[in-house]
């Protein structure tokens, strides 16, 4: 071999080394932000006015034909192959009932998979998407067990856990579903009911408490007479006579309840308004012991109020009624006329335990309305088809009287709402991003084709 050949050979080796160097992929480097698991951000001040609306996929089982197109298209993104078993969406078919279901991540507001992950590999971004950080995932599969939907799926071929990441905001399964059984939504943004309710409550307070003294217990404007039904009951019991004028004036509120449910409690009651305001400033709720949480207690209070009035010969409960006290004790002409107003802050302090504790467990006026609402025309239903159940639970969180069972939602069941306890504040209807909570006539179904509640 001569000198020139040796030089050529050395050049070749150098060039090969350079090529190998160039082709070598850089090692993935961990950065600080990779190590810090991302969790849902706390509510910002701006969210009160314009809530964040994260994208979710809605599934309509009535349209699904079980063709599996979603699985195949999902797998192309997951593993760059057509491999339905390795998709992040799974179509299950009940062959006997002939129903197909798509199992996919709901990107819960408070993801249980995130809490279950021992390596903190699951994170929820500001965009609401729950992702698995592959750098940390050890494929232990705890997330698959923690998820009520079993949405994180273990790839049977490679034993790797996959999870829907909404294709980073543009889900392929939704685009390719031939029957449009999969759609995306960001929910509704309009919260006009909230604004309207606060407005009505403030006006009612202004009218009943500030402008006109003694209005709630008995109000007369020309030929129109209105009176508190519970007060009227006590009046009848204490006097032993049925005064038709008083009884008929009390009926007005009861008829309102029959027509619309306990709207008085949710929209008009001045003490309810006070409680709602106190609720805004009270710290985290501590909760009542279970033995105190009987919703039947208020009926006992009502019975006690009527009984004691009959025994004592005067409207006994009215002397401590927080609604009446507010209306009687405070006015334009008389400021703090009576020490009885002290009952208001005492009862309002119960808000520290639970929202609207007084209304839930003790208020006899609410009990009277509750009895009247047995004949109600309206109801609130949570449609099983639209409800996102465990992934949302917003209706249960906003319900001031706690009658929407969050546990049922966590179990994947749309709960029934006991309408005798519902104060028709419509917070659930207002808050539900998927329009699952709706006001319906009592004989109507939640949505066409859905089981009547």
């Amino acid at each position: 071999m001569d000198q020139k050949d040796r030089i050529d050979e050395t050049d070749e080796i150098d060039q090969t080394d350079q090529k190998m160097e160039a082709s070598r992929q850089p090692e993935p480097q961990l950065r600080l932000e990779d190590l810090r698991p991302r969790v849902p951000e706390k509510k910002k001040f701006s969210d009160w006015f314009m809530p964040r609306r994260n994208q979710v996929i809605l599934f309509d089982p009535a349209k699904c034909t079980g063709c599996g197109t979603c699985e195949m298209i999902c797998s192309t993104r997951n593993v760059a192959k057509v491999a339905p078993s390795q998709a992040s969406v799974k179509v299950l078919t009940d062959e006997k009932l002939g129903k197909s279901f798509a199992v996919l991540c709901q990107h819960c507001r408070r993801p249980l998979c995130l809490e279950a992950c021992p390596t903190r590999a699951i994170e929820k971004g500001d965009d609401g998407i729950v992702r698995i950080n592959d750098l940390f995932c050890v494929d232990c599969g705890l997330c698959t067990m923690a998820c009520p939907e079993a949405a994180p799926l273990r790839d049977p071929a490679n034993q790797v856990v996959h999870k829907c990441d909404l294709c980073e905001g543009d889900p392929l399964c939704v685009k390719h579903c031939p029957e449009k059984a999969l759609t995306t939504t960001r929910g509704k943004a309009l919260r006009w009911i909230k604004a309207a309710r606060w407005g009505v409550q403030a006006l009612s307070f202004l009218f009943l408490v500030i402008l006109v003294v003694g209005t709630f217990c008995y109000f007369r404007a020309g030929t129109v007479e209105l009176s508190c039904p519970t007060g009227t009951l006590q009046n009848i019991a204490s006097s032993g006579t049925l005064i038709l004028v008083g009884a008929s004036s009390a009926l007005a509120l009861l008829i309102l309840t029959v027509l619309f449910g306990r709207v008085f409690c949710g929209w008009v009651c001045p003490f309810g308004f006070v409680l709602d305001l106190v609720d805004k400033i009270t710290p985290k709720k501590i909760g009542w012991p279970n033995f105190l949480k009987s919703r039947m207690a208020k009926y006992g209070v009502l019975g006690g109020a009527v009984g004691s009035s009959a025994a004592l010969g005067f409207q006994a409960f009215c002397t401590v009624c927080p609604i009446g006290t507010l209306c009687r004790s405070y006015g334009v002409q008389s400021v703090m006329q009576s020490a009885e107003l002290a009952i208001v802050p005492i009862l309002a302090a119960t808000e520290i335990a639970e929202r609207r504790s007084w209304c839930r467990y003790l208020c006899p006026v609410g009990a009277t309305m509750g009895i009247a609402s047995l004949l109600r025309l309206l109801k609130i239903v949570i449609g099983a088809r639209k409800c996102k159940k465990f992934s949302c639970i917003q209706c249960a969180e906003v319900c001031p009287v706690g009658i929407i069972d969050a546990d049922q939602l966590r179990e994947g069941v749309s709960p029934k709402i006991p309408m005798t306890e519902c104060i028709m504040c419509l917070r659930c209807v207002d808050r539900c991003p998927y329009s699952a909570a709706k006001v319906r006539f009592r004989w109507q179904k939640a949505t066409p084709g859905e089981a009547n509640q």
Binding site: A62, C64, T65, G66, C67, G68, T69, M72, I73, S75, T76, V79, A80, K81, V82, A83, P84, S85, Q86, T93, E95, K96, L97, G98, K99, S100, P156, A157, L172, K175, H176, P178, E179
Partner: protein, 440 residues
């Protein structure tokens, strides 16, 4: 490189049930090129082995982004007609077979005891389950879920096949199938109760396939081809279909589609909309339902019994006398399944305006929604490519080039492939076992 390599595993599983031996071999690309795929490659493989061999195979488009790419073809020499027959299996059986890592399954010989084949991860396993003999289809499936858990699709036979009924019909899971030429009897002769597929592998795809698939679907939707969906609209296209459709009034549930099919042609029927009889069954066999509903008002329970027994509902409907009470009709069905009764082949209905021999070569169960040679050409084309033969009839606007575009985008290759497809269709319709062009 072959045209089909991108969506083919390139693997054949060969099972000899006599010796219970299994091996896998490379798929010969030249034969694959020549015979295109699906039923034609099945027939070529059959030419390489004994005449009682049973072949299951997928087409080059099976499991791909082509619409309704759900087909799996079973090819064998029919014991009833003594010529080559190809039985189409849809739902998810085709893709599951392909994703199990095997494209063609050759089943030779006969086992001494009742056995089941399990295909997955590119391997075939023989499971000897003697107690599976005589079990009804739902019972058998339940037993198989314990013995071979995790399978995602299955082709099974019921007691009708065990008892030697010539009218036994192989079933996709518990739903029945379009087997009307005796594939179940061939399986029973081999002591083969079931073939299970566990498709957990995947195959790479061409980048433009998703867009092509969406464009094809949009084209079909715009042309109105996908407007009539469900079991009943197709049933009504049969000669006596309107009457048979009337028998389903008030019993229909949701529609069901095969793998990646934009036009569901099956529908669940419920025995009753409420109460304990809320459960129902999937209607997929148009001819079978028409035959049963013509003879009895209790067609739904009779169909259910046929599916449990693994009996061809068309044969059951043909063998029944009209307006018998349910109990007598059930007894007649049981007798047919037990091979204690028979029906003349001449009475066994065929499709009007279709050559009976070709109709039977192509499975005898794909009802004609188009007439004459169009039917035989389209169905044969579907059986070669791996597309549902019912869908290609529904989707009239979907022509051959639309399907072949999923195999190649090159114009020259497309032309050559179309020519080979023509040849293969002709050979398929003749029902001949092709001469082996290459050694295997």
């Amino acid at each position: 490189m072959s045209l089909y390599q991108p969506f083919t595993n390139g693997k054949i599983g060969v099972v000899d049930l006599t010796t219970l031996s299994v091996y896998t071999a490379e798929l010969p690309w030249d034969a694959c090129q020549e015979h295109v795929g699906g039923a034609a490659v099945n027939a070529w493989l059959l030419s390489q082995y004994e005449s009682d061999t049973l072949i299951f195979g997928t087409g080059p488009l099976t499991g791909s982004f082509a619409p309704a790419s759900a087909l799996l073809v079973g090819t064998f020499r029919s014991p009833r007609y003594d010529h080559l027959c190809h039985v189409p299996f849809m739902l998810r059986s085709g893709p599951e077979m392909k994703f199990s890592g095997i494209d063609y399954l050759v089943i030779r010989g006969a086992a001494k005891e009742s056995c089941t084949l399990s295909v997955g991860r590119g391997q075939v396993r023989v499971l000897t389950i003697p107690e599976s003999t005589g079990k009804s289809v739902p019972e058998l499936l339940q037993m198989l879920r314990r013995s071979a858990p995790g399978f995602r699709a299955s082709i099974v036979t019921g007691p009708a096949a065990d008892q030697g009924s010539p009218f036994a019909s192989a079933s996709i899971g518990s739903h029945g199938s379009l087997d009307k030429v005796g594939l179940a009897a061939r399986m029973a002769a081999k002591n083969l109760k079931a073939v299970l597929f566990n498709g957990i592998e995947g195959l790479p795809f061409r980048e433009d396939h998703p867009a092509l698939s969406k464009a094809t679907e949009t084209m079909l939707r715009d042309s109105g081809a996908l407007a009539a969906q469900g079991f009943v609209p197709i049933l009504k296209k049969l000669d006596d279909g309107s009457e048979a459709a009337g028998a389903l009034r008030g019993k229909l549930g949701r529609n069901r589609a095969c793998y990646h099919c934009p036009c569901p042609c099956m529908t669940y029927a419920a025995f009753s909309k409420s109460g304990p009889e809320k459960e129902g069954l999937l209607l997929m066999d148009h001819a079978g339902w028409a035959a049963l509903s013509r003879k009895s008002e209790d067609a739904l329970p009779l169909l259910k019994r046929c599916l449990e027994l693994g009996l061809d509902p068309l044969a059951a409907g043909t063998g029944l006398r009209e307006d018998r009470p349910l109990r007598e009709a059930m007894n007649a069905v049981e007798a047919l399944a037990a091979a204690g009764a028979s029906i003349d082949e001449e009475d066994y209905p065929s499709a009007p305006r279709i050559d009976t021999r070709i109709f039977r070569i192509l499975g005898g169960g794909v009802m004609p929604l188009v007439s004459g040679t169009t039917w035989s050409d389209r169905v044969a084309e579907a059986m070669l490519l791996g597309i549902c033969p019912i869908f290609v009839q529904i989707a009239g606007r979907l022509d051959r080039s639309d399907l072949l575009r999923f195999l190649t985008s090159d114009a020259e290759e497309l032309k050559a492939l179309a020519a080979r497809l023509d040849d293969a269709i002709q050979v398929l319709q003749e029902g001949k076992i092709p001469e082996a062009g290459s050694e295997f």
